[in-house]
């Protein structure tokens, strides 16, 4: 009988469908009054953890406990409730109103891992607001655990996971002994809808809260954003008369030759 404990890290980000703008001060993307939701890759991670649990239960070879964790301000609890509604068992909220960069998050997650002792930690490959693609890898480094990133397929054996990764050149299959880190890529699964009955049940599931001080972690940012600007407006296309005209434009206007 294998009983797994899976920790899933989630982040509350600006919803993927929102048209983002730079704020009035030019310092960051405008997030006030803008719709937020769970990072899509984290939804895939949550779904994966729940599918692992369902597979174990169905095969009668054991079960899994799915714990979701999120680091962020008070509203991150909505993200956790979403995950609970999908089927996670309990939630942990590390509350902080400060900016949390990937290294800080990795350290906070390490503290949670040391408390909860999971067999696997699943993260999204990157968050759609900063596209850092660092937290999973940094966490693996801090814990000295094996990592399989950009997973498009996961198979669990006895204390072992076999992961198919999407890499630039194609697809790579790796084996890693548990405990290990997994980061999800798009093709791993299609997350389920949370049904309304499950949303109502989720309200009763446990949600524990920690502060950064409780975990004794240094979250000071190491990176400073200097400038944010919208991309240049798309120029209309121009028709050129001849090859000479094209070469001339490429040389003198676009300055790429």
């Amino acid at each position: 009988m294998s009983n797994l404990r899976i920790l899933v890290a989630t982040k509350r980000v600006v919803d993927y469908a929102v048209k983002i703008r730079v704020n009035a001060a030019g310092s960051a993307v405008e997030t006030a009054n803008v719709k937020h939701s769970m990072n899509p890759f984290d939804e895939i991670g949550t779904e994966q953890a729940i599918q692992i649990k369902e597979a174990l239960v169905k095969a009668k070879t054991g079960t899994a406990e799915v714990i979701v964790v999120s680091c962020g301000p008070a509203k991150s609890q909505e993200t956790l409730r979403t995950a609970l509604a999908m089927g996670a068992d309990r939630a942990i909220h590390v509350e902080s109103d400060e900016e949390l960069q990937p290294l800080a998050v990795a350290k906070l997650l390490k503290a949670i891992v040391e408390k909860e002792k999971p067999d696997m930690v699943i993260l999204g490959k990157q968050a759609i607001d900063d596209d850092s693609n660092q937290t999973g890898q940094m966490l693996a480094g801090l814990l000295n655990w094996p990592q399989a990133t950009f997973a498009s397929k996961v198979e669990l054996g006895d204390k072992l996971m076999t992961v198919t990764r999407e890499v630039d050149g194609g697809v790579e299959t790796v084996k890693a002994p548990l405990p290990a880190i997994l980061t999800t890529d798009l093709r791993l699964n299609v997350p389920r809808y949370a049904s309304l009955p499950n949303i109502m049940k989720a309200k009763k599931k446990p949600l524990a809260k920690f502060t950064v001080a409780d975990l004794g972690v240094d979250i000071k940012p190491r990176l400073q954003t200097l400038k944010i600007a919208e991309p240049p407006k798309r120029q209309g296309g121009k028709l050129v008369e001849s090859v000479d005209d094209l070469v001339d434009k490429l040389k003198n206007e676009a300055k790429v030759l």
């Binding site: 919803d15 939804e43 299609v190 809808y193 009955p197």
Partner: protein, 644 residues
């Protein structure tokens, strides 16, 4: 506020065209609770659980037919006790939950009713379960209005709204009324009802968001992202509650891997607060003959944008209303410009949907109106942040239907309490919700309450008639209909001026709204084509650019929610006789007549780009053939309005 409906949506949407891992799904999620539910429900009402009736009913009718017009009809069969394991997940029994009150719609009316109910219950130390479902992914996401809010109802509901952080930050300071000619903006006097001292310029979307937070704080269960798509009935024909959409059906109504059956809420009282021209409300009108004694409702379409403007041009607190150019004398219409503060400008055009010319294009009228020197000057150097549109009620007092029926009531704009002279409907909508709450609470907690008898909220209608809602609407009842003379807008303005300033509605006569809007269109051959200027991309924009500013999105591969009763009518009637007005009155470019490649050269077909829909309901109102049936799509879809 939980944005739970967008669960999986993002990954799903991105994933749409990629091969998916197949997931073994067990659709029925009801089994363990079934016996408890059977006992509980049987004790409450005689006869069967509607869920069982629904599946029995489903088995005898074709799936697509029921899906197209999903109204549960009361069944005369007895309960089926045998548990039937259906292979078809779309016919699985739905999870059903009991609540005291269920409210359809999380706008000002619905939220006010919910808050009032919990306030009454909390004051009495009583348990009262109030559930509210809202089709938008977040409370406020489908809310759009001018808006200058009269805080009268808010002061009654939440007197300490300022301490609680209500987003009423910009008092209205100055009122201006103007008559536009092509080049000039001529100042006009305005009726006293349009003076806005004591009112606030707000983003109604932000206001509703705040109301939603207040509702959660007093203990209302708010569920955004869930669309009520079906009315449930008891055996005796009274309203039993509502059911939410099944989600995860594909275009052909077949279940996808992520299929989830909707759920049912059974309530002692169901309040319908769907906003102007509600999709379930229109079924209630037929079911209970609620419109037998009133005039048809008439409507306008409000189209607006929110701009960030040059700070030097921003005059916070200034309220401007304009009539005239480019709207002609025979079309009802007017514009608004509100300086919201923080360099934001809310501006828009309302066009009466009783317009006669099928070539009228409300969206393009709005775009060309912005080029008027007065408006253009304000917008130059600014940036458009948001766009949207919504139908509004114009019928007033004469068009208010019967407000209650066994098991429920109508509140807010779905009944139609908008004061057209003030151009305000929020305060009356809220008040109607609060009155319904009082009435419902009294009925539920009364000694005379009997479980087997439906609640009939007769006193709710009387409360509305005794309230300031009725007084306001009575005073201005003759204004809008006075525009329906051959004198057009001129006649209307003259009469309304006299009525609002001198007579204040104290006349023995009441004009009537005789003709529904969809019967007003002239045939195309008798109408004048309008040559609209092309958008310049700086002040005015093409339709699709504007649609992208609504943030609207619907999950891919779901049934088209705009249903045609007869699929030949658009080409054979609307196109032939009226030259396809749906291609012009939709502010989101949903309806397009394109070449039909499968037919002989020159034939057209109607293409429905339902993903663009911004839920304004204009098509359901104005289609001259009344062939388009607006039904609610999967919860969570639709616009994502910001600052509107």
């Amino acid at each position: 506020m939980s944005s739970l409906s967008h669960l999986g949506r993002s990954a799903r949407a991105i994933n749409a065209t990629l091969p998916r891992a197949s997931v073994a799904r067990v659709a029925s999620n009801v089994a363990p609770r079934r016996t408890l539910l059977t006992l509980a429900t049987a004790a409450r009402r005689q006869g069967a659980i509607l869920a069982q009736k629904t599946s029995a009913f489903n088995k005898t009718t074709s799936q697509t037919a029921l899906r197209a017009f999903s109204t549960s009809l009361p069944s005369l069969n007895d309960a089926e006790e045998a548990e039937e394991e259906s292979e078809d997940p779309t016919k699985a029994e739905r999870y059903a939950d009991e609540t005291d009150v269920v409210i359809v719609g999380g706008g000002p009316a619905g939220l006010s009713a919910a808050i009032k109910l919990k306030q009454l219950a909390n004051a009495d130390g009583r348990e009262l379960r109030v559930v509210l479902v809202e089709k938008a992914g977040e409370i406020g996401a489908h809310t759009l209005s001018g808006a200058v809010l009269e805080p009268r109802a808010l002061n009654e509901l939440i007197p300490d709204w300022k301490e609680k952080g209500a987003p009423l930050n910009q008092p209205a300071l100055e009122d201006h009324m103007k008559f536009f000619t092509k080049n000039y903006a001529i100042p006009l006097p305005h009726p006293p009802q349009m003076t806005n001292t004591g009112n606030y310029i707000v983003s109604l979307s932000n206001y509703v968001k705040w109301l939603g937070e207040q509702a959660e704080e007093v203990g209302v269960e708010v569920f955004p992202g869930f669309a009520a798509s079906e009315i449930l009935y008891n055996e005796d024909g009274s309203v039993k509650g509502i059911a939410t959409n099944d989600v995860g059906l594909d275009k052909n109504f077949q279940p996808k891997d992520e299929f989830e059956r909707g759920m049912e809420f059974h309530a002692k009282v169901t309040l319908f607060a769907e906003g102007c021209h509600g999709s379930l409300t229109k079924k209630l009108f037929r079911q209970f003959n609620l419109r037998d004694e009133c005039d048809p409702q008439t409507y306008g379409i409000g189209i607006k944008e929110v701009w960030k403007i040059d700070p030097k041009k921003s005059k916070p607190g200034t309220v401007v209303h304009a009539m005239g150019w480019p709207i002609d004398n025979s079309t009802y219409g007017g514009a608004f410009i509100y300086h919201m503060g923080e360099d934001m400008l809310s501006l828009g055009l309302v066009v009466g949907l009783d317009y006669e010319n099928p070539y009228l294009h409300p969206y393009k009228e709005f775009q060309r109106w912005k080029h008027h020197p007065y408006v253009k000057d304000l917008l130059e150097g600014g940036e458009c942040m948001s766009y949207g549109a919504r139908a509004i009620n114009e019928g007033g007092l004469q068009s208010i239907p019967k407000l209650y029926f066994p098991g429920g009531a109508l509140i807010g704009c779905t009944a139609g309490f908008l004061n057209l002279v003030k151009i305000k409907g929020t305060h009356t909508a809220m008040k109607s919700g609060m009155l319904a709450a009082e009435s419902a609470y009294a009925a539920i907690t009364s000694d005379k309450y009997e479980e087997d008898k439906p609640i009939v909220l007769e006193d709710f209608e009387q409360k509305v008639k005794d309230s300031w809602i009725w007084k306001e609407l009575t005073e201005i009842r003759n204004c809008r209909p006075s525009f329906h003379t051959p004198l057009g807008n001129l006649g209307g303005v003259l009469y309304s001026g006299i009525d609002t300033i001198l007579l204040k509605g104290r006349t023995p006569w009441t004009f009537h709204n005789t003709t529904p809007d969809h019967e007003r269109l002239r045939v195309a051959t008798n109408a004048q084509k309008i040559d609209y200027p092309k958008p310049d991309g700086v002040i005015s924009f093409d339709l699709l650019t504007s649609v992208s500013r609504t943030g609207t999105n619907h999950a891919e591969n779901q049934p088209v929610h705009l249903r045609l009763k007869n699929k030949d009518v658009p080409v054979e009637r609307n196109l032939k006789i009226y030259d396809g007005p749906e291609g012009r009155f939709c502010p989101a470019g949903v309806y397009e007549f394109v070449d039909d490649e499968s037919g002989p050269a020159g034939t057209k077909r109607l293409q429905i780009n339902s993903q663009n829909c911004i839920h304004c309901k204009t098509c359901d109102i104005k289609d001259p053939s009344q062939n388009i049936d607006w039904t609610v799509p999967e919860g969570g879809g639709g616009p994502q309005y910001v600052y509107t």
